[in-house]
Amino acid sequence: MSQLGDVPTVGNEVVLDVRTQDMEINMGPQHPSTHGVLRVVITADGEIITSARPYVGYIHRCAEKIGESVTYEMFVPYTDRYDYLAAMNNNIGFCMAVEKAADLEVPPRAVWIRMICSELNRIASHLLAFGTYGIDLGAFTPFLYGFREREWILSLFEKICGARLMYSYVFPGGVANDVPDGWFDEVLEFCDVFEKKWRDYDKLLTRNKIFIERTKNVGVVPPEMAREYGWTGPCLRGSGVRYDLREAQPYMYYDQVSFDVPVGRGEMGTVGDCWDRYNVRMEEMLQATRITRQCVQACIRDTNPGEIQGDKPKTLKVKPTEAYVGIENPRGELGHFIVTDGKDTAYRLKVRGPSFCNISILEAMLPGTMLADAVAIIGSIDIVLGEVDR
C-alpha cells in the first residue's frame, strides 16, 4: 500500500501539484558583482528571472548642479569622479565642450598628450573590466594578472600628474603640465610589454572552455535592440554595429592615426552575446596600444615641442552659447551639453553618461535568463555607477 495514500495518477505516473512561489531577491546595492552601488530587485521562479527592476541613484552627487556653481577649471575634478575608471576621458570630454563653447585653441602637443592619456586610460579601464568580469564568473587569476599592467599605467599617470585614479590633468585649453623626462620612453616600453602580456590574457580567459560556456549565447542583444536603447561604445560594437566615434567623427588627432575597430561577429555563439562584448574590449586594448605608440612617436618626432596650454584668460568667462561634444569613452559616448551665459560658471551642464544609457536595457533583457546569467550580463555591459548616477 502506498504511503502517499490516495494520489492522482495518470497511467502509471503519480501527478503531484508542486506549486512554487516566485521569489523576490534583492541584488545590491552592496554586491560584489554589480560593479558599484546598483540595486536590482529580481523576481525569480526558481532559477529563471521573471522580472528585474534596476534602482540607481545611490551615488548621485548631482554633478550637473555643481557645474552651475563652480568655475570651469574648478569643475574638472568633479568630472574625474563620474567614470572614475576612465577619468582622463571625462576630463577631456568636459574640456572639449568648454573649448567648443569658448572657441579655445588647444596646442598640438597638448592634443597628442591628451590622446596618449585617453588611450592608456582605455587600456586601464578595459583591464579592470577584464579582471572583474573573470571574478564575477569565478575566475580570480585574470584579475591579478590584469592589475599588474594596470598598476604600471597608474604609475605612469602618477609620474605625469601626481594622481593614480582621479587625475584632473586636462584643463580647458590644454593640459596641466608637461610630461617628465623619460616618460615617452616608458610608455613605448609599456606598449611593447603589454602586447606580449595580452596574449597571455587571451589564452587565460578568452579561449577558456568554462568562460565560453558561461558567456556564449548569454544576454544576446541584437543590433536593432542595441540601437533602440541608445547603446554606444563596446556594447554596441559587440552587437555587430561598427560605429566608433574615433573613426566616424574623429576628434583631436584620431584622423591622423591608424587603428582597427573590433566588432562582434558571433565567433563563439550569437552576435551580441556576452562573449562578443567581452572580446571587443580585449581587441580594443590592442588597438589602443597601437594608437598610443603612434601618438608617442608623433610627440618624439616633434623637435620643437610647443606649449601645453593655449591662450586663455585667467578667469575663463564664456559668452552665451550652447555646445555639445561627444567623445568615445571606454564605455560609450560621453557627451557634455553646456549652456553658457557669459559668467565664469556654466548656466546648465548636462552630462550624458554612457553607462546610464547602457544599463537601462536590464529591465527588458534580464527576464527569461537565469540568475547566474544576470551576473554575466551585468558584467558584460561594463558599467560604472559613478557615471550612471553622476
Partner: protein
C-alpha cells in the same frame, strides 16, 4: 547630411512641425550647434519620422536634457516705462545620432514656465528615452505624458522638489539628518 539638409528633409516629411530653425549665425540665440524647435504636440510624430525615414535614420537617441530659464523681471530704470516681465521657459533638448548615416541632430521643445510643464513622451519610439525622461522629471520637473513609469530615478523616492531648477531651495534636513 548637414544640418540644413536634415532640417529641410524634416520639414518636408513633417510639414508644420518645425516652429523655428536656429542656425549658427542667429544673433539672438547664439549656439555652436544649430538646432530646430519643434512644437510639443508634434514631437512624437517627428521622432517617429526621424527614426524611420530612409534619408534621416536616426537610430540612437543620445540624450534628453532639460534647461530652466526662469521669468526675468528687468530692473526698473528712472524715467523709463515700467519694464515688462520676460516670460521664462523650460527647454527639452534632444540630441540624436545616426550610426547608419553618421550624422547628428539637435531638437528642442519649448514649454511654458509652469510649475509642472508637460511634454509628450517619446519612449514608445525610442526605448532609450525611458530613463532619460525619468531623469528629466526627477531633476527638472518636466512631466512626460504617456510615460509608462514616471518616477524618480536618481533622487530618493521621497525627495521633495526638483534639484536642477533655478529656484530650488536646498533642504535644511532630510529624515533627521541636518544639512547645515
Amino acid at each position: 547630411m548637414e544640418f540644413e539638409q536634415l532640417a529641410n528633409r524634416l520639414a518636408e516629411i513633417c510639414p508644420g512641425a518645425i516652429v523655428e530653425k536656429v542656425d549658427l549665425d542667429n544673433p539672438d540665440k547664439p549656439t555652436k550647434d544649430p538646432y530646430v524647435v519643434v512644437a510639443a504636440d508634434r514631437i512624437v510624430e517627428v521622432m517617429d519620422k526621424l527614426q524611420t525615414d530612409a534619408d534621416l535614420r536616426f537610430d540612437c537617441l543620445l540624450s534628453i536634457g532639460g534647461v530652466d530659464y526662469p521669468d526675468v523681471m528687468p530692473k526698473a530704470k528712472k524715467g523709463q516705462p515700467e519694464p515688462e516681465l520676460i516670460p521664462g521657459r523650460f527647454e527639452v533638448v534632444y540630441h540624436m545620432l545616426s550610426t547608419i548615416k553618421n550624422h547628428r541632430f539637435v531638437l528642442k521643445v519649448l514649454l511654458p514656465h509652469d510649475d509642472e510643464p508637460v511634454c509628450p513622451t517619446v519612449s514608445n519610439v525610442y526605448s532609450a528615452a525611458n530613463w532619460h525622461e525619468r531623469e528629466t522629471w526627477d531633476l527638472m520637473g518636466i512631466r512626460f505624458e504617456g510615460h509608462p513609469d514616471l518616477r524618480r530615478i536618481l533622487c530618493c523616492e521621497d525627495w521633495v522638489g526638483h534639484p536642477l531648477r533655478k529656484d530650488y531651495v536646498f533642504p535644511k534636513e532630510y529624515h533627521g539628518i541636518s544639512a547645515e
